[in-house]
Amino acid sequence: MPTLDIDKIKQEVVDSQIWRAVFRGGVWSDTPRDRQAHISGNVWLHLHPAKVRPRALKWTYTWGLGGLSFALFLLLALSGVLLMFYYRPVPGLAFRDIKDLTYAVSMGRFLRNLHRWAAQAMVVAVIAHMVRVFLTGAYKRPREFNWSVGVLLLTLTLFLSFTGYLLPWDQLAFWAVTVGTNMAGATPLLGNSGPFSGLLGMHVNNDLRFVMLGGTSVGANTLLRFYVLHTIAVPLLVGILLILHFWRVRKDSFSAAPYQANEAKVDVWPNLVKREYIAAVALVIFIMFWAITKSAPLETIADPNVTMNPEKAPWYFAGLQEMLVYFDPWLAGVLVPNLIIVGLMAVPFIDTNPKGVGYYAWKERPFAITMFLLGVVMWFSLMAMGVFFRGPNYAWYWPWESWWTFKAAPPPTWNVFGPHGQAVLPLALGVPVLGGLFLAAMLLPKLIQRDLNGWKVLGGVLLATAALGAVGAGMGKFTGTQVGFLLFFAGMTTWFGFVMPQRHIRRLDWARYLVTMALVVSTMGILLKMGARLCFNIKYVMTVPVVSMNI
């Protein structure tokens, strides 16, 4: 009776011509050579190095966020291709195809939910990845350029999500995209309602918004454009940048974790690959669970004649929409997001602090980390305000208040500097006053070249503000809430806009100092303007109607 010799069969299969044609290398015997060959001999796996330092493998270092973002990208590509089999980007058909997916296609509802929730998870994962990389200082030399590529990838992730938002062609999609694209119409010079738009002869039918929409309002052309961008153009671009991103990670020794003397490297197969696999599978289980238990929203079919109230942008742009309360669209929708993107890309070039590369180090990089986290907290706070606290007519509704109750109209607003209307002070005064304040905010921290006691400065400002508030309240001009707001915004801007830069970056060279301060002062400007609007109903600090520029 012949015995079943497994090893012999294995040997024969592996040595056969077919196996050899597909997989190189001999029988797996788990030697270091085998493991390295497994990585370097595989076109997909060889984006990894063959060996990696153990510090790079720690869960608490990376949280696997980059890999998870990529896993979500793959999941989205897969589910997206399957959805494309059923979807036609034409207004009459798009909505019906979504209904078909929901009601008639096998697994159609699951597929759509999966795609939708994975897209939202990817936005979260990519932002979290960026925060992690910042906190561990992994953007510093020699990784500056890869950080910039990463910022572009974040932007493209948001753009992918935004273009996909329109495709169901329901009211939610239509009006969210209307809100989003109207901001493009406010671009300075290039948008029909932006400042200086007259210089280039911009109208509603030839400006930047028109290019995005393929028309003067969201319509059939927009749907086709967004579909092509969503399914072909942007994914291709993301793919190209991803290759670059991964290649750089690989070339820059895979991890920024600092070297230790006599550190023994470990094999990537299986030490890294198993971690990646487990993180990805856990995530896919989570997304699938989510897709089974919660359906993606679908409202009534898009109708340009029926405006929804309130009309909200997708949640990741809700912060920008919330900023529209305080700023004109050219600032909130164009300048601020561009400043965020450019500012983030500039970070590795203005941060000269050599410490804190490859580990969490708040104490060694107090300025960088505080300022970055302030930005992140502001971004998410604005987002939360837009998503959770805004109701019909974009009025403020607490989460426990019903949207079905009436809210009285908000109090009238006024402008500080400007030529006409409710303005109090003339424009000729506004330019030097605001310019002077801006210059002072920009330069003072560097000009005072000695150690100040930050707590005393803060205390002084708060005391002065409180005195002003007390006088105002005594005269019946301010309410307690207004004084509270005033103290909060004065304290915030003093600490983050003056004390911190004066303490930490006054010794930077002028070029880096000015770029950094421009970002800091812009952030403080947003805070101050929010305070001005919330406390004193100031619509514009300065308005120049002739070039439609309002601040």
Binding site: Y103, I292, V306
Partner: protein, 459 residues
């Protein structure tokens, strides 16, 4: 847990979640109904076979029953090329699938297993392959779950028409619906609409008063245009509506069985706005109309759709012969008809017996305005404002004066407010010059003067 264990656990979990997704997708609501239908048919045929004397016939019935038991489940739909609709209703209502069940009658009484009523008349005239389901019944034809398909859910503006409201669908195509068999409720609704003077304020396709909205496309009114605040106040049969029932038919019904002043209170004391705004000036018809009559009017108005009229090709429409003006023996009878024709009853009451409410105008029995009154007291007095009760006034006019008054109307700004700080009364007497022919005007004046109460002479 070691990575190896985690690897196995997670892989099995992944498989489990995937299987769950497949099972959940496979466990569709419609399958239960389709399967039950086939089982009920099989049981019914077996019972028939048991009573059958002829063994050959019995075997045949049993074979049919077995076929039903083995029947594969599938989504069924009627694709109507002409209407561009895809109706999946017969997925559950299998008995109404012509191919499955050519007779389209079933032995079952309850839905979704019952057949369609009036096969010989209604269904023969509207073959399903040409009409589908939703063009008459409304609802969401593409959906395959009970709630979504019947459309009584949020995010679907045209839910299934229930009760007599479905006769609105006759009105969509049948210009002759007033004489159409089966559309009696809609026809009655049309008559009530005119008798009670709705046309005085609401025009239909441009014919009628301009005081309120045109109702020629009222069935298309998008639900987001109606404030939730108002929908919350609609009360039908003593019950407030659930959010899923915030639909246009309930909005219209709510205005007929409930006081519109309560549904749309607006802001008479300028609490949320710079100027006071009077509540809805629509009269309270809840005392005048029975619940059935209100439903009849809703049935008629649910046919007032432009969206669907445009979607339905012209060959589906049935034109009505032009209506002739009726002839009358006397000028008085004609005058009464004219009063009805132009919707005068909307303000002056049916047969001109009593003027209707006119918020914050002067009216009988009002106390004198006193700024110290509470809001509730002020509101109660403002509510007593009335349109003129015509028989009380007629003794003050001769024929020519009355004709001139009707021709000129009374502009809204001429209204006298009871509360000088309150809202301007909304409704007013339009100028009818050029809108009513001379003969009609003369006869209207003749009839009105004949209603005068003589005892008021001298005031």
């Amino acid at each position: 847990m070691s990575y190896r264990k985690l690897f196995y656990v997670l892989n099995f979990l992944l498989l489990g979640v995937f299987v769950w997704a497949v099972v959940k997708d496979n466990d569709a609501e419609w399958k239960t109904y389709q399967r039950t239908y086939y089982e009920k048919m099989a049981t019914y045929l077996d019972a028939q076979a048991g009573q059958q004397k002829d063994p050959a016939q019995a075997a045949k019935l049993r074979a049919q029953a077995d076929e039903y038991r083995r029947h594969p489940l599938a989504i069924k739909q009627i694709i109507t090329d002409g209407l561009g609709r895809y109706d999946r209703c017969i997925t559950c209502h299998v008995g109404m699938d012509e191919y499955e069940n050519p007779g389209m009658t079933t032995p079952f009484k309850t839905q979704p297993y019952a057949g369609h009523p009036d096969i010989a008349g209604l269904v023969k005239a509207h073959p399903f392959e040409k009409f589908g389901c939703t063009v008459c019944h409304e609802g969401q034809g593409l959906a395959t779950t009970v709630a979504d398909a019947h459309g009584w859910v949020t995010n679907w503006d045209r839910p299934m028409l229930t009760g007599v409201h479905i006769q609105g669908s006759c009105v969509k195509c049948h210009g002759d619906f007033r004489t159409l068999k089966g559309a009696e409720a809609a026809a009655k609704g049309y008559d009530l609409f005119h008798q009670h003077g709705c046309l005085g304020c609401h025009s239909i396709d441009g014919v009628g008063g301009t005081i309120s909205v045109d109702l020629g496309d009222i069935a298309d009114k998008p639900i987001p245009r109606i404030a939730p605040y108002n929908f919350l106040r609609v009360t039908i049969d003593g019950k407030h509506l659930e959010e899923k029932d915030w639909k246009i038919q309930n909005w219209i019904l709510g205005h007929l069985v409930d006081d519109p002043e309560y549904v749309t209170p607006n802001d008479p004391f300028a609490e949320d706005n710079a100027e006071p705004i009077a509540p809805s000036p629509m009269p309270d018809f809840s005392k005048e109309l029975t619940r059935d009559q209100a439903d009849d009017i809703v049935a008629y108005l649910m046919g007032m759709t432009k969206v669907e009229e445009d979607e339905i090709p012209y060959r589906y429409h049935v034109a009505a012969p032009p209506e002739k003006e009726p002839r009358f023996a006397s000028a008085k009878a004609h005058g009464k008809y004219v009063f009805e024709k132009y919707g005068c009853a909307g303000c002056h009451g049916v047969d001109a017996v009593a003027g209707r409410r006119r918020f914050n105008a002067l009216g009988p029995g009002q106390k004198d305005y006193d700024p110290k009154m509470t809001k509730a007291e002020l509101f109660a007095e403002m509510e007593k404002g009335r349109e003129p009760t015509l028989p009380d006034l007629m003794s003050g006019y001769d024929h020519d004066e009355l004709v001139a008054k009707i021709e000129q109307g009374v502009p809204p700004t001429a209204a006298k407010k009871w509360d000088p700080n309150g809202p301007l009364p909304v409704v007013y007497m339009p100028a009818w010059k050029g809108k009513i022919s001379k003969k009609e005007l003369d006869d209207l004046a003749t009839w009105l003067l004949s209603t005068a109460k003589q005892q008021n002479l001298g005031f």
